[in-house]
């Protein structure tokens, strides 16, 4: 819950909008993450499981310090 204190987001980014960002970024950047998300979905579908999104790459307190 640490990140709640660190992060002050208040807008709902919207699931659909997040997904489109991935697509847009995928088209100009790497397709890797996108493939991961969709592959996860497809696999979950065939296994009849509930899809779990990929875990965050970092811990909550592993902030990107510039």
């Amino acid at each position: 819950m640490h990140h709640i204190l660190l992060n002050t987001r208040y807008l709902d980014p919207g699931s659909g909008s997040l997904l489109v960002q991935l697509i847009a970024a995928g088209l100009v950047g790497g397709f890797g993450i996108l493939a991961k998300v969709f592959w996860g979905r497809i696999r979950a579908f065939f296994k009849g499981e509930k899809y779990e999104p990929p875990a965050p790459e970092t811990d909550d307190d592993d902030l990107d310090e510039a």
Binding site: H3, L6, N7, G16, L18, V28
Partner: protein, 459 residues
């Protein structure tokens, strides 16, 4: 009221605006403390203000009303006139959009990110867009996407695309949708040609609208981290910038865009009119002026170049666009171009009708200019002269009004296709109507025309 929270300042728990004894302050809450500290310590604040991209502030020792949640109190510099995206010309909205993206890129280089992309966070000062929300910055978390992306598309991209590719009047649609144009609506209205391939509009509007619809009630991505590398995010921002840059609009073909070149005003009579307006301004010495029906701001500049802050409003988006582009090209100061239909000025909108002020509520002002305007109000819009005089007196202490009589060619044109029901539309009728609420301080016939300029002082 001595103290009040600014009524539009409620969305973000990081802080809010309030006024006390007429001074505007911004409170930073404990909730936003870490982000605020990083915003200062990384030098982002300094760089943004040096570039003139963000409003400057000073931290002040003012007692908070709610010290248990308060972290800092800031006193931001004041913007001379608050305007809204539905009052901007095309290039104003476009420049505001590009600035938002630029700021986000700079923030990312300092380990921060814009947490929103509201067009209402941008204001114009001296012809340049300026971010006024100091608390729009959050700490960037590695792998996260941009929370403000949807808002950016709704507030900026959709109206710009509609104005550029369908009709510039869609700029006004934002008045109806305070959180930006719904993307499904924009998608339905945009031409078919925008739906193909990997074009920015296809992705950010059409696909965005489709995916939104599909995922409307599915919390598919609970955790906004680990999704995007910073490089991909920067690439996406670059793509958005390119998409916005490609959207253009030429200011022509509207009613007034070529007004001065299309009328038979000679250079001499324009110059004379400017001199008279200037002398009236010198006589009244206003601190702020609103030029109503300013066209491209020719006469607004009589005030602006005297160092007087002047709003140059006009109903015609082409005239306002030309004015804005001129201000920008010549780096002119003290001018604020504004698209405004005076017969239906901006209402107060938003929650409890208190988020965005009506045009009138942003007054009163020291002086209005109403040049070559009265015949449009009285004849085209059937407004009685008394009513016009009352309105002017309600928003201003001084008024410079040009009376354009019936034998003027422009009025003849307005009357050519309709019955003349305007018996009181005479110089005597004008003076009688305005003398009810104003004193005639000066009167100057314009040589070479039938027109008269009046300097009126509110009684």
């Amino acid at each position: 009221m001595n103290e009040a929270r600014v009524s539009s300042s409620f969305r973000d728990p990081s802080g809010f605006l309030f006024t006390r004894k007429g001074v505007l302050y911004r409170q930073v809450n404990q909730f936003g403390a870490k982000a605020y500290d990083k915003f200062i310590s990384t030098g982002l604040y300094e760089e943004l203000t040096q570039r003139g991209w963000l409003v400057a502030h000073k931290e002040v020792e003012v007692k908070a009303d709610n010290p248990e949640i308060a972290y800092r109190i800031l006193q931001p510099d004041l913007v001379p006139f608050i305007s809204y995206p539905y009052e901007w010309s095309f290039s104003q909205l476009k420049d505001a959009a590009l600035l938002t993206l630029e700021i986000n890129r700079l923030a990312l280089s300092k380990g921060m990110i814009l947490k929103d992309a509201s067009a209402y966070n941008i204001q114009f000062v001296d012809g340049k867009p300026l971010l006024i929300d100091t608390l729009s910055f959050d700490i960037y978390r590695k792998g996260s996407a941009w929370d403000g992306y949807r808002q950016f598309c709704q507030h900026f991209l959709a109206p710009l695309a509609l104005a550029s590719l369908v009709d510039v009047r869609f700029m006004l649609l934002s008045k109806n949708y305070i959180d930006g144009i719904p993307l499904d609506l924009a998608s339905r209205l945009l031409p078919v040609k925008t739906r193909f391939g990997l074009s920015g509009l296809n992705i950010h509007i059409h696909m965005h609208a489709r995916v939104q619809r599909e995922y409307a009630d599915k919390p598919t991505i609970q955790n906004n981290t680990g999704l995007l590398t910073k490089e991909s995010l920067l690439n996406m921002l670059k793509g958005l910038t390119q998409t916005v840059e490609k959207l253009t609009w030429q200011p022509k073909g509207t009613e007034w865009g070529d007004y001065y070149s299309a009328t038979n005003y000679s250079d001499d009579s324009l110059r004379l009119k400017g001199e008279v307006v200037g002398s009236f301004i010198d006589q009244a010495k206003p601190a702020k002026v609103w030029d109503l029906g300013a066209n491209n701001g020719l006469f607004s500049r009589e005030a602006a170049r005297r160092g007087i802050f002047t709003v140059a409003s006009d109903i015609d988006p082409a005239a306002v666009e030309k004015n804005y582009l001129t201000i920008k090209a010549n780096q002119e100061k003290n001018l604020m171009p504004l698209v405004m239909d005076l017969t239906n000025p901006s209402p107060s909108i938003g929650w409890a009708n208190q988020e965005r002020d009506a045009f009138n509520a942003r007054g009163p002002v020291d002086m209005i200019l109403a040049l070559a305007l009265i015949h449009h109000l009285a004849i085209s819009n059937n407004l009685p002269l008394d009513t016009i005089a009352d309105y002017f007196a309600s928003i201003s202490n001084w008024a410079v009004v040009e009376f354009v009589p019936k034998n003027d060619s422009q009025v003849k044109r307005l009357l050519a296709t309709r019955k003349d029901i305007f018996d009181h539309y005479t110089e005597e009728g004008f003076e009688a109507a305005f003398s009810r609420v104003f004193k005639i301080a000066a009167k100057h016939p314009l040589a070479g025309s039938e027109r008269t300029l009046y300097l009126l002082k509110k009684k």
